[in-house]
């Protein structure tokens, strides 16, 4: 009986000691994990277009992290973006809802400078300050900064902004994925 009690006592003492060590370690050596929001935000394309129904990429990232939004709400990110989010969050890939969201080729806005009346409305709408101009002065887009979010289109009273797809040039042309035909082509 006393042997049993001794064993019990030793085990209990060990448990308390180890528990204390673990508890101390978890406080002392706490590793600040990368905030999930930042990681999600890093994947999002930063168009700040609001097509996800959130006011910008970061709010959407926060919503995903908080479980309030799905990962398939970002058309500019494309399916590739969904895949990356799925991988990050350890959830299944989820395609865009049928017909709900239209994935467009990357475009930049172009202001028809002869039509522009210089109302500055688009300047106020641009989430990344990529439009320069002044009241009653012609406006123009800084193409290299334009994210193609299309937020400048609705406010324009004279519809002088159009989206121009970014074409392939020698500078951004990519070598295509090599095709090795060893699969039987099924009819």
């Amino acid at each position: 009986m006393s042997g049993f009690l001794t064993a019990l006592a030793i085990m209990a003492a060990l448990a308390i000691l180890l528990g204390a060590i673990l508890g101390f370690a978890s406080v002392r050596f706490r590793v600040e994990a990368d905030p999930l929001v930042d990681k999600i935000d890093a994947i999002l394309p930063q168009t700040q277009c609001g097509q996800c129904s959130f006011p910008g990429c970061r709010p959407y990232a926060e919503a995903i992290a908080g479980g309030e939004a799905d990962i398939n709400q970002c058309p500019p990110g494309g399916e590739d973006g969904i895949r990356k989010l799925a991988e990050l969050l350890g959830v299944d890939f989820k395609p865009f809802d049928e017909g709900a969201i239209e994935v467009k080729p990357k475009s930049v806005a172009l202001i028809d400078e002869t039509t522009c009346i210089g109302c500055t409305l688009c300047i106020q709408a641009c989430p990344v300050d990529a439009i320069v101009g002044a009241a009653k002065q012609m406006h123009t887009i800084i193409a290299s900064e334009c994210t193609g979010c299309e937020l400048c289109l609705p406010p324009c009273p004279v519809d002088c902004i159009q989206m121009v797809p970014v074409g392939t040039t020698v500078a951004n042309w990519k070598w295509s994925y090599p095709v090795i035909p060893i699969k039987v082509v099924k009819a």
């Binding site: 090599p178 060893i182 699969k183 039987v184 099924k186």
Partner: protein, 344 residues
């Protein structure tokens, strides 16, 4: 078509063909000593392998012709048939080959993707599942003629007056192991037994030398590299020499180990398999050495008389790790970043 527009004409088929060619001397010597039973086993294995490969390719929706032509299935079949007892029942080789091709190779993704040597997978399965069948090795110039061998393989019928013991015998490795376990006398007297020849088995030592000849041909053709075979033989010797020097009565001489059993077959045809082995020269040295050590350990201290298959399979498991640790640094770079280890 893109650059390079010119290429060396060597193809996978050519490589496999050369390996098959290098096996021919050993096959010829085997047939000379043991009769046509081996040819029957080779035929059975080849047919099974090709059929299984074709069926699997079809199931996977891949083109069949180019993969059958690459000769890799045939090579697996031949290696398997050569490592199994020639007088084994027909279904034994068929089951082993099926397992080798279907599970050992195709289920892992087919050519180039199998982590284990398919032939050794088939052999190990047969060894573990049918140990009794796998112990029936023929004796050189045995009592069975060709038709009797056929009858035995396909229907397990023996000519009148012959028993199983009369047509088969233990291999020298098996005999030594059993006798030493039984606390038998010293090696020198054991080697007086009829199955011993000049160095190792009475017929099998010549087959082993034929493997060596084939291996040298492959080396000369640059189909295989010297690192893995050399390291394997070195590994085996490393353990065999000191133990033999210490207790020559209890541990058989290193030369016996080098020639006996499947040592030379493994050295030149199994550990040189590029798919399931490491790629760098240093990696191949480590891999071969490991196989050599394991062969000796299992032979002498383990439960099986021969050990090539298990040693190779065990080292196959270590290949990704070996590859990771032996990756040479790129041109002009000193040492690879430790980061690579994170993906292990």
């Amino acid at each position: 078509m893109h650059a390079p527009y010119i290429a060396r004409p060597t193809t996978v088929s050519v490589i496999m063909l050369k390996v098959l060619l290098a096996l021919l001397p050993a096959i010829a010597v085997s047939v000379w000593f043991y009769g046509i039973a081996l040819l029957v086993q080779l035929t059975l294995a080849s047919a099974t392998a090709l059929l299984a490969e074709a069926a699997m390719l079809r199931l996977r929706g891949l083109a069949i012709a180019p993969f059958l032509k690459d000769g890799s299935a045939l090579l697996t079949a031949w290696l398997l048939a050569l490592s199994m007892p020639a007088l084994g029942a027909w279904w034994l080789i068929v089951v082993a080959t099926l397992f080798a091709i279907v599970v050992g190779k195709q289920l892992y993704g087919g050519l180039g993707n199998n982590p284990f040597n398919p032939a050794m997978v088939g052999f190990a399965v047969a060894m573990v599942s049918f140990p009794a069948q796998m112990a029936h090795w023929g004796m050189p110039h045995g009592p069975l003629d060709s038709s009797a061998q056929l009858a035995w393989i396909f229907s397990r019928e023996l000519p009148a007056g012959l028993s199983l013991d009369a047509i088969s015998m233990a291999t020298p490795l098996d005999y030594l192991k059993t006798q030493l376990l039984l606390g038998g006398s010293d090696i020198a007297s054991l080697k007086e037994a009829p199955m011993f020849g000049h160095i190792a088995g009475v017929g099998s030592e010549w087959v082993a030398l034929a493997y060596l000849a084939g291996g040298l041909f492959l080396l000369q053709q640059r189909v295989i590299r010297y690192q893995a075979p050399l390291a394997m033989l070195a590994g085996l010797t490393t353990l065999a020499v000191p133990l033999w020097l210490w207790q020559p009565a209890h541990y058989v001489d290193p030369l016996f180990h080098l020639v006996a059993g499947a040592t030379l077959l493994a050295a030149f045809f199994i550990v040189t398999d590029p798919v399931s082995g490491p790629t760098s020269a240093r990696g191949q040295l480590i891999f071969g050495f490991g196989v050599g050590l394991l062969i000796y350990v299992i032979r002498v201290f383990g439960g099986y008389p021969d050990a090539a298959a298990f040693a190779v399979l065990l080292m196959n498991i270590a290949v990704p790790l070996i590859d990771q640790l032996t990756r040479p640094p790129a041109f002009g770079k000193r040492k690879r970043a430790k980061k690579a280890d994170q993906h292990a």
